[in-house]
Subunit: 297 residues, 2 copies
């Protein structure tokens, strides 16, 4: 009898999703940032995502409730960005102890609503449930959205020779940015509309864990130019690689697209750093492992 810590998060997910049978209309099932299903036609697909944050794991009890609400929604939105799509409707499940303060919960809701409205989507459904005494509160946010069929970006489309980019800076998110980050929706939409992005994901568990996932989904190895990693202020290389919760975009495209991108990005998003950090290769990965694994010991 083995417990989850024996397997690690990726193996747990792989074993569980192997038990599911895909139904009709499912274009991309579990394993990418969002699921992709048949949409309303006219060249659109529907994107689906659910995510949750838990007190003591994703935020501390003393954090600002408004920021906790922001984060709960922003994490889900970030997964829509990672697909080159846009979220539309959100549903929220709150599991709360009965001794939770009403005013505190209202602040969480204000934070959730603010994040949703900032990105032109709306919370259309809510569910609340009580928790046994002493259990940590949990917020789950599920979302639906859409993308043009021709512009959906999966993790699996990377090719040997592709250039790897990340937006923003990495590491040190625990000092506050993990609660206030901006999902890169506008940037991802512009990217997928104007470039052939081969593969993309959002960085939630740290580049050291997420880059091997993208490379592996694409059937590629990778090389990482550690000197080129964009580090947040006061952060050392190890932190940039392994802290996690950056919620920046990691993506791959051809060398030719990459050259054009570097020029156009600087004009379009002058205030958001874009860094070329390495490339995909046909050989095995450099031995980069680690990061934040939800079930590792």
């Amino acid at each position: 009898m083995l417990d989850l810590s024996h397997y690690g998060e990726d193996a747990v997910v792989a074993r569980l999703t192997a038990l599911l049978e895909a139904g009709p209309g499912t274009l991309t099932g579990p394993g990418d940032d969002c699921a992709v299903v048949e949409g309303s036609g006219r060249g659109e697909v529907e994107l689906l995502k659910t995510d949750c944050i838990i007190c003591g794991v994703h935020f501390l009890p003393e954090a600002s409730p408004r920021k906790i609400g922001w984060k709960a929604v922003a994490r889900t939105l970030s997964d829509f960005a990672a697909m080159g799509g846009w979220p539309r409707h959100l549903m929220v499940t709150l599991a709360l102890p009965s001794d939770c303060q009403m005013r505190w919960v209202e602040e969480v809701y204000r934070g959730m609503n603010k994040c949703a409205r900032t990105f032109n989507c709306s919370i259309v459904g809510g569910e609340t449930s009580s928790l046994p005494a002493g259990a940590p509160m949990m917020i789950s946010v599920a979302g639906t959205g859409s993308a043009r069929r021709s512009q959906v970006v999966l993790r699996s489309g990377g090719e040997p020779g592709d250039v790897l980019f990340v937006t923003g800076t990495l590491g040190g998110s625990q000092q506050g940015r993990h609660l206030t980050f901006m999902p890169r929706l506008a940037e991802a939409e512009w990217l997928s509309q104007n470039f052939r992005v081969h593969a993309m994901m959002d960085l939630s568990d740290g580049l050291a864990m997420d880059l091997p996932r993208l490379a592996s989904a694409s059937g590629c190895g990778f090389r990482l130019d550690e000197e080129a990693l964009p580090r947040s202020r006061g952060v050392v290389l190890e932190q940039a690689l392994r802290d996690g919760e950056d919620y920046e975009l990691l993506f791959a495209m051809s060398e030719r697209s990459a050259r054009r991108l570097v020029v156009e990005w600087a004009e379009k998003f002058p205030r958001l750093k874009l860094s070329r950090i390495g490339g995909l290769s046909s050989d095995g990965a450099a031995g980069l492992t680690g990061g934040w694994d939800h079930f590792s010991e």
Copy 2:
């Protein structure tokens, strides 16, 4: 500073959803069994729902993991039935302690998948998260589905003089049925296709709590014929009213439709009891309160 137990579940939900701003395309926001949003046209609307079950609240740790998985999915499906719609795609969030047994989690997934496939829908996305030591495990299931625009049944369409019906029998669900119940999807679909159902919901918190909700949403009072309540075997009236977790349909329609229904139901669903239990009225409700309130003391 007041905590949630001071307000009770309905007031908590009302206060929280008042903080949300409805976006474009939202036809029915929080407050009904599902949210209703603009669909793909051709007379269809999209339905959205999220729900969760928590160890110690909705199931005991020693329950069969396959049944726990069934219940997690069946609860969400039951809300689609309550709207006269059908679910299509499901997303699952599992929050698990690291010392959870892999084989146990796989059984939960098998139960979820079985319920989904039984009702022709599929689980297209999964998310797993770790929990702090000692925290109760939680399964959240979000779903999307659809209904014909002309056949969506809200809680709010009941009229004075309407007849009230419930399917099945009530009470005693904790003895096992709460883990194995069949969402009334086929029955609700047939009802909404063949009758003008004015208002409908699924019974999750007990008739004593849910009937006042339906009546109140419809701006009606109600009378309940307690003699006519269909009680599960070995169950007294109070239990049929207040045990909760029946997941049967409660619905309202005109007297004329009701007479036709009673005849046709017996032919169509000979093995599922249908009971006429009272009616909606223009005066205030009979003083029926109680049932299962998630945040009451």
